[in-house]
């Protein structure tokens, strides 16, 4: 771990220098929004954005990703045998990722990279990626990251954490991957560790003070799963839900996907797409039976997974990093902070 300082005048030059070794991703202004995109050509990341409408999960887990290919041409060797698609896993860096989004990737990792199973596509992309985080100095009103083991200066899952000092960035280099990226940019002005850490601590405390939302999760673990599942509040809670996929798609920790095969002429490919537990099709069996056939079951599933099943299975906190995107984007304002409160304080009536 060490600190370096980056004069903003040298920022663009350094970033451009790294393009030789890294594919870059970062926040880009798009109309009124900010989107995390590949920084093709000489596009620069917008390091001053407030928040991106979609999270950075797509850098490792694109909404639509080809995983296998085959030829249907019978004169070709190995026709009809699916083989891994030749995707690009050369080094990439995601610039300006928010600390809560980087933490979210660590939660997603628990699912895609386990002792028993490794998702090769996600794991290879993860290996290839350097996460250059941007600390949040002005948290938005929907940010409740400090309630869920993240926060505006959370370092979990990051290789570098940047703090904005108007004319310069201070970069805390957290891992060897971070060190390699800084070297590729030519950023090498080291500064005193103790002083820098003290400054980071002041900035972090200042930022954390501006987070006014607090969500309690302390009692979720001790709640009986079936009691929560059978609770009567789900009907009221689900009433307004229109069952779109917005909450799941904007969520940095939602990882569910669907597999599809498509053929065009003699070429066939298998790819995966983000899927959403809000859709009836998500659980519809080939027989036509659907274990989550009605809306309330699907709404319950989303919150039970995030706030109870995940917690019970991994004991690593809830599957939410407090970014507030779903709160802001939900067309009918279903608020996970309120749902979490309802679940956390639920007492079964006999």
């Amino acid at each position: 771990m060490k600190f370096i300082t980056i004069d903003k005048k040298n920022w663009t030059k350094g970033i451009d220098k790294s393009r030789g070794t890294y594919r870059l991703f970062g926040p880009v202004k798009d109309k009124n929004w900010c989107m995390i995109k590949e920084l093709d050509g000489d596009i620069l990341p917008d390091m001053e954005y407030n928040e991106s409408v979609m999270s950075a999960k797509s850098v490792l887990f694109p909404q639509s990703e080809t995983i296998l290919n085959t030829s249907l041409n019978e004169s070709v060797e190995d026709h009809h045998i699916m083989k891994r698609a030749k995707n690009d896993y050369t080094a990439r860096a995601v610039l300006g990722i928010r600390p809560y989004d980087a933490k979210a990737i660590q939660l997603v990792k628990m699912n895609f990279d386990t002792k028993e199973y490794k998702d090769p596509y996600w794991c290879d992309a993860y290996e290839a990626t350097t996460f250059v985080g941007m600390a949040i100095t002005k948290p938005g009103p929907f940010d409740f990251s400090t309630s869920v083991d993240s926060g505006p200066f959370c370092e979990e899952g990051l290789d570098i954490l940047l703090a904005d000092l108007d004319d310069s960035f201070i970069a805390k280099i957290l891992t060897p991957k971070g060190e390699s990226f800084a070297a590729a940019c030519g950023f090498d002005s080291t500064i005193d560790d103790k002083e820098s850490q003290a400054l980071f601590d002041i900035l972090r405390k200042e930022a954390e003070k501006n987070i006014n939302c607090r969500v309690e999760t302390d009692k979720l673990k001790e709640k009986n799963l079936l009691d929560l599942h059978g609770a009567s509040f789900w009907d009221d809670l689900a009433f307004s839900c229109i069952n779109c996929g917005t909450c799941t798609y904007v969520c940095p920790t939602c990882w569910c996907f669907d597999i599809q095969d498509e053929a065009k002429l003699k070429e066939s490919s298998r790819f995966r797409n983000w899927d959403t537990c809000m859709s009836p099709l998500f659980t519809r069996h080939a027989t036509g039976h659907n274990p989550r056939g009605v809306k309330v079951q699907r709404v319950r599933q989303r919150f039970m997974h995030k706030l109870k099943y995940f917690l019970d299975k991994y004991d690593q906190g809830i599957m939410c990093v407090g970014c507030g995107r779903c709160v802001k984007s939900c067309p009918v304002n279903i608020d996970i902070r309120e749902v979490c409160h309802t679940m956390n304080t639920y007492e079964k009536k006999d």
Binding site: D30, K31, N32, W33, M35, N50, V53, M54, Q63, S64, K138, G140, P141, F142, F239, S240, I242, N243, C244, G245, T246, T248, Y249, V250, D258, Q260, E262, F271, N273, T276, S279, P280, L281, R284, V327, K328, S329, P331, V332, N333, I334, D335, R337, E338
Partner: protein, 315 residues
């Protein structure tokens, strides 16, 4: 318009108390600024939860049609037109629904207001035509008229078409010389530019289907994009598949769309979904003299034969 809430609550309490309806469907205050949430009220005490203001931009028609028993519904002009459409399309019977009509002075364009600020909006209040919007850095006093949603700007049916009671006095309807200036602009483009316009429109679409699910016309038990056996449309982010969804959905709304704007309101990606449906609304008006949801006794133009049909082939 915000003063009518007292009347809405009184009427709702009375209906529930007398047992005339099982539920009142309206809007509740949201947890964040400029947000409201559809709610079903079942007891007199809970009527205090009802609100009505310029942020009630969703359409409640679909919520009412899915209920058992008789329900009351708070209906703006557009909601009432979609209730008419639901009655015509046999989704709900007239005697199953009690309509509390609210003459509407328009809903605000939340994203237009959001673009005035560099940071997040932390407060929103309204008083007549004055909006007071605050963020952590500053406050803006706005005229509501300048921040109406586009569909509200072109609305010629602010008053409910069908109602059992009104929550406030009727408002004056506007007459528009050019009711479709937005469509005219797109029509004036050459073919390539027109194509490009629609390509750009959907480029950020994430296929969450919020537009469809917020739409009062989209009540099919299984939407064509969710059909799995056989599957009709590709599920990925392929442009053709994304656009197929939008084009087919729009055509399915032809002669039925009331331009309520719920699709745009719901879209998390800021897509002006109405660009697809507005042209069809214009065609319905120009070819058939038809506006959806104005008469419970008339079948929609694509559902009826008429000797006056402008297309020769049908005669």
């Amino acid at each position: 318009m915000d003063t009518c809430i007292k009347k809405i609550r009184e009427l709702s309490a009375e209906l529930l108390e007398k047992g005339e309806v099982q539920k009142v469907i309206g809007f509740a205050q949201g947890t964040i600024p400029m947000a409201t949430s559809p709610i079903a009220i079942e007891s007199k005490q809970d009527t205090e939860k009802l609100v009505f203001n310029s942020t009630c931009g969703l359409n409640l028609a679909n919520y009412a049609s899915k209920q058992k028993g008789k329900v009351a519904i708070i209906a703006k002009g557009c909601d009432s037109r979609n209730i008419v459409t639901h009655i015509v399309e046999n989704q709900i019977q007239r005697d199953q629904i009690y309509i509390i009509g609210v003459p509407c002075t328009g809903m605000v364009d939340k994203s237009k207001i959001a673009t005035l600020f560099e940071d997040e909006i932390t407060g929103f209040t309204e008083d007549g035509n004055t909006l007071r919007v605050t963020s952590s850095s500053r406050e803006e006093i706005l005229k509501k008229q300048d921040y109406l949603r586009e569909n509200c700007l072109y609305c010629t049916h602010k008053n409910p078409i069908l109602y059992d009671v009104l929550a406030t006095e009727l408002v004056e309807e506007q007459m528009l010389e050019k009711p479709f200036p937005d469509v005219d602009r797109i029509e004036a483009l050459d073919t390539d530019a027109k194509w490009q316009h629609f390509e750009n429109l959907t480029k950020n679409c994430i296929r969450c289907y919020a537009c469809r699910n917020a739409c009062p016309l989209c009540y099919c038990p299984t939407c064509f994009v969710d059909e799995a056996g056989p599957q009709w449309v590709g599920k990925g982010q392929n442009k053709t598949d994304v656009n197929t969804f939008h084009y087919l959905r729009a055509f399915h709304c032809a002669g039925r769309c009331t331009d309520c704007g719920a699709c745009v309101e719901a879209c998390p990606m800021g897509i002006n979904v109405r660009d697809f449906t507005r042209k069809l609304n214009k065609d319905a008006l120009e070819l058939f003299g038809w506006e959806a949801g104005l008469d419970i006794t008339k079948r929609p133009p694509l559902d009826a034969y008429s000797p006056e049909d402008p297309d020769d082939f049908i005669k």
